[in-house]
Amino acid sequence: MTEPVVEIVDLVKHYPVRGSLFRKPEFVHAVDRVSFRLAKGETFAVVGESGCGKTTLAKCLLRLIDADSGAIRLNGEDLLKLDETDLRPKRRAIQIVFQDPYASLDPRQTIYQVIATPLRLHGIGNRKDRPQRVADLLKQVGIGPEYMDRHPHELSGGQRQRVAIARALAVEPEIVILDEPVSSLDMSIQAQVINLLIRLQDTFGISYLMISHNLPLVQHISDRIAVMYLGQFVEVADRDTLKARALHPYTQALFSAAPELDPARRARKKAVLAGDLPSPIDPPTGCRFHTRCPFSQERCVNEAPELRRVEGRDVACHFAGEVDLTALATDAKVSR
């Protein structure tokens, strides 16, 4: 790709677990050497289930928490090396829209204040033109000016999420992190908000980092997708490449698990992944997925696979291309 807007290199974040006097300190391996790039106007999705580290990744990018090691290069400059004063103006470039539209808006502020706060903070516009700027931003997301004096609790979930999007756009960011932006919304509203996000991307050329557990949705709007498991990327591919065929067994399981509306596709064999997510405090040796993988061999227990190029995408599996979870399914049960 041409010069990426942001480049993350080998990001690591381990949370210390508060140990007692009698136990040696343990760490939650939240993010373990994650790398990727994001180009202008691109939508890059990180898909995974709870505990995979995607939210921690987002917080590291925003420097809401500090990564242990690695680099976050925004237009070439490593954000992790900056101190707070130098970082502040750069924060405009990366913004976030959270999952819970209620918790993400200050209940005490009016909608006008919610949007005006970032404008004022970064000195965008002046006191005279601010009301107009706020009105324009709200209009972009489909909220009329009559809502400016209202408080968040007077708006519906979908409307609050739109306001949250407008707030993120207020500082003219280059990247917006979307952390499960529609999971809390009704289905009919989800489509509205997703369409809004697509339109805004067309208008402003923003890059999206979309974090989600909803693989079909992510398939629809992303350009590239990374599947994350226990702090690591296990497969990174273009949307179409992944749709044609998923190589990593975990990715295959995710696709298989998505509930299917179409009866024809539903009749096809379904692989149900057994077992539970291992604890991120003590992740499995070698390939972290080996405890739930029906194809695991001795090599998988001892040797951690690196991401390597197979069939046009990056995948971390010793047997990528040779294994297919769905082929194992009989009556939809793969037991361990």
């Binding site: 289930e49 519906s156 289905m187 369409n195 398939q219 629809h220 509306l261 992944l273 057994a274």
Partner: protein, 325 residues
């Protein structure tokens, strides 16, 4: 095929500071022995309220069942006394909820909680109840059930807690299981496990199930019949496959279109414009009219009644029943 649950004209009101909300408006539906019926709709449609009404779990105040009957194997649950309805809860009709962490008591072991129902309803001695609890945990697919039975909810993962809750619900062999958004709070791979488990258990135990959900995919995976609700009213009913193949009500159509992500050529998802009406400001005619692409004059003035359009098929829509294009 006998009816195990027969709800007739159920109406539930909620008193709020701003007025009375009609949460459920004259809902009628039934479930046959061993059948799975899904109640589908978005927030505020009244599906959870309906489920809670069956076991009379609606807090009063502010809620109140103001009309209708709920017949369980012929007995009207709404006319039972407190002791009698308590004998039904957990024994003949069981319920599982969305968040297992909320439904499980953190200070009791899993075994104790499952055994509680057995001791209470079936008067089983404690030791025997714990044995049965181990059997139940094995039935729901929890590995090492003998060990797990002595553990606390926080020792278990989300998926296992959900299974434990199912085990608790099935302890006394109920004939009807009400599942209120059982997989909404869990990851997609766990959801697949739970749905598979529910299908499996149903087949083995011959139990009927009322599934409450907003996820059409879940409905397609598990339910035989589906009832679509909007703003307190039933708008469509029918066999799940048929309704999904050929929806009659524009709302169902819209929901399906939103859920079925657009094909590769279309960038934008199909939306239903507008939002669910505020319960204090319901449209005078059909509840869905302001958002409906097929609405015409009559829809604004009259609320359409449910009409049978085939065997087991019902729809409340003038556009559908008057064969307008």
């Amino acid at each position: 095929m006998s009816r195990i649950l027969d709800i007739r004209d159920l109406t539930v009101h909620f008193r709020t500071t701003k007025g009375t909300v009609v949460a459920v408006d004259r809902l009628s539906m039934h479930i046959d022995d061993g059948e799975t019926v899904a109640l589908v709709g978005e927030s505020g449609c009244g599906k959870s309220t309906t489920a809670m009404s069956v076991l009379r779990l609606i807090p009063d105040p502010p809620g109140r069942i103001v009309g209708g009957n709920i017949l369980f194997k012929g007995t009207n649950l709404l006319s039972l006394g407190e002791d009698e309805i308590r004998a039904v809860r957990g024994r003949r009709i069981a319920m599982i909820f969305q968040d297992p962490m909320m439904a499980l008591n953190p200070v009791y072991t899993i075994g104790d909680q499952i055994a509680e129902g057995l001791c209470l309803h079936l008067k089983m001695p404690k030791a025997k109840a714990i044995e049965r609890a181990v059997e139940l945990l094995a039935m729901v697919g929890i590995p090492e059930p003998g060990k797990r039975v002595r553990e606390y909810p926080h020792n278990l993962s989300g998926g296992m807690r959900q299974r434990a809750m199912i085990a608790m619900a099935l302890a006394c062999d109920p004939k009807l299981l009400i599942a209120d958004e059982p997989t909404t709070a869990v990851d997609v791979t766990v959801q697949a496990q739970i749905l598979s488990l529910l299908r499996d258990l149903q087949a083995r135990l011959g139990m009927a199930m009322l599934l409450i959900t907003h996820d059409l995919g879940v409905v397609a995976e598990v339910a035989e019949r589906v009832i679509v609700m909007y703003a307190g009213r039933k708008v469509e009913e029918g066999p799940a496959e048929e309704v999904f193949r050929a929806p009659a009500h524009p709302y169902t159509e819209g929901l399906l279109a939103s859920a079925r992500l657009a094909s590769e050529n279309e960038r934008f998802l199909k939306e239903i414009p507008g939002t669910v009406p505020s319960p204090f400001d319901m449209p005078p005619g059909c509840n869905f009219e302001p958002r409906c692409p097929k609405a015409f004059g009559k829809c604004r003035e009259h609320a359409p009644a449910l009409e049978r359009t085939g065997s087991g098929r019902e729809v409340a829509c003038f556009a559908a029943t008057e064969n307008r294009p």
